[in-house]
Amino acid sequence: MPLSRLSSPFLSGTNRVSLQMLQLLAALIPAVIAIVYFFGPSVLITMTLAIVVALSTEALMLRLRNRPLKPFLTDGSAVVTAVLLAIALPPLAPWWLTVIGILFAIIFAKHLYGGLGYNPFNPAMVAYVLLLISFPLEMTTWLPVTSLSDQPLDISSALQFIFNGQLASSIDTVSGATPLDAMKTQIGLHQMPAYIFQQPMFGLWGGKGWEWINIWLAVGGAFLLYRRIISWHIPVAMLAGLSTLSLVTWILAPEITASPLFHLFSGGTMLGAFFIATDPVTAATTIKGKLVFGAGIGLLTYIIRVWGGYPDGVAFAVLIMNMLVPLIDYYTQPSVYGALKK
């Protein structure tokens, strides 16, 4: 049997990119089921559409760039981007929103930087931010939780809405704000957080439905940690950064801040901590760097949520820290064996 390599080592471990991506998708399954349970089946439609568009765009870009399809199309990275974006988008996202997002993510945020491994910014987050800024209405139109809605969507009406843009009943009676959004607006209107929490859209410690989705995302994250797909540094640092700042402000001014538990289990916190910030291509690589990177995302998320213009700051926080990664990596190198102590 001829040797496959010119140089040693001639042994190779079992770690592969495609295997990592597959396990990541597996870890998202419980959360997706939770989303379907709480918000209806529309997320599945968005996800399918996103995956199809992502794979075709990836194939097209590989052709245009004269790269072979075989290893790149099957490495699963486009599918992961598509799934993460689909989870982040609102359930009523029209088909064109998904398509524009995916096209931008795959073409601009990934291939025009050089493809897998060369992009400095997380493609799913780039797409999310683009859509949020360009189409604020569609991006902030969320469905209320199924148990609270008087018009829960079934799959056919979801399909009809996503692809046709209208329903039997108008949007206003169907849509609502997210718990994060509601908390932020009503605190701004000088309501007490404890009182706001009594509203039906809030559950035990986070938004109703949202807290369960976040819990299942955390479970998926724990699975990834167990399988050594991700290391604990970034998720722990991010959650620590977020909770610390939140705890401090909550202790200092409880009448105008929501509890740390609320922040941990609402919005994109767990998705960001375990699935988005840990994207190896765009995260810091040194151990100390990962801690700094994660903490930065946590702090920025809280700052944007409370004092920024958007209800959820995870996407922006991730992109800002992505920018700082080369600097972080440079200043957090480990000391080499035998290095003379200064």
């Binding site: 010119l6 140089s7 004269n66 790269r67 072979p68 050089g114 493809g115 060369y118």
Partner: protein, 186 residues
């Protein structure tokens, strides 16, 4: 508004004076850029760049008079290094100056040498040992492969021989070229 114009003009004058003072006080003798360029050039002294040696070419580049892609013995590696140093675009080797060849050494065929010393006078690094009517020989460790000794020889007894790698000078092949066949990033 008048005060604004006055203020800006005054500021400009002061800063200009400072710069002028710094230009005189911290002036560096010699041309450090030319030295740095000369350090990068391979010192073959062959003249293929149409200058009389590497130092004149370095000074011409420093003065901005010529392109950086005129050195065949230096090859692509040298052009890249010059492009990085001077922060200009990389240009591929100018064909009319020559082509990049593997390192060669000159060898005199002793049966044919007539001892005329013409090659000794031509060698830019004095790598040929000999005297009039005595055998000439090339000091292999000093020869830069510039080929300036070939034209003057009246009996054409100098050959260029490719250097054979041995176990100490052998280099591993570039793994990126293996990847390239399959279309990965260069």
């Amino acid at each position: 508004m008048f005060t604004a114009i006055l203020a800006i003009t005054l500021l400009a004058l002061i800063l200009g004076l400072l710069l002028g003072f710094a230009a005189i006080r911290f002036k560096v003798e010699g041309d450090p850029i030319a030295d740095q360029i000369d350090k990068i050039l391979p010192q073959t002294q062959c003249g293929q760049c149409s200058f009389a040696g590497c130092r004149p070419y370095a000074e011409a580049i420093a003065a901005g008079e010529v392109d950086i892609n005129r050195c065949p013995p230096g090859g692509e590696a040298t052009i890249h290094a010059l492009a990085d140093l001077l922060e200009v675009e990389f240009k591929s080797l100018d064909e009319e100056c020559g082509v990049e060849k593997p390192k060669m050494l000159a060898v005199i065929d002793e049966d044919r040498c007539i001892g005329c010393t013409l090659c000794i006078q031509a060698c830019p690094v004095d790598a040929i040992l000999g005297a009039a009517k005595h055998m000439h020989t090339i000091i292999a460790s000093e020869c830069t492969g510039c080929e300036l000794c070939l034209p003057p020889c009246p009996v054409d007894c100098i050959d260029m021989v490719e250097t054979k790698p041995n176990a100490n000078t052998w280099r591993w092949p570039d793994p990126a070229h293996i990847d390239l066949k399959l279309g990965a990033q260069p």
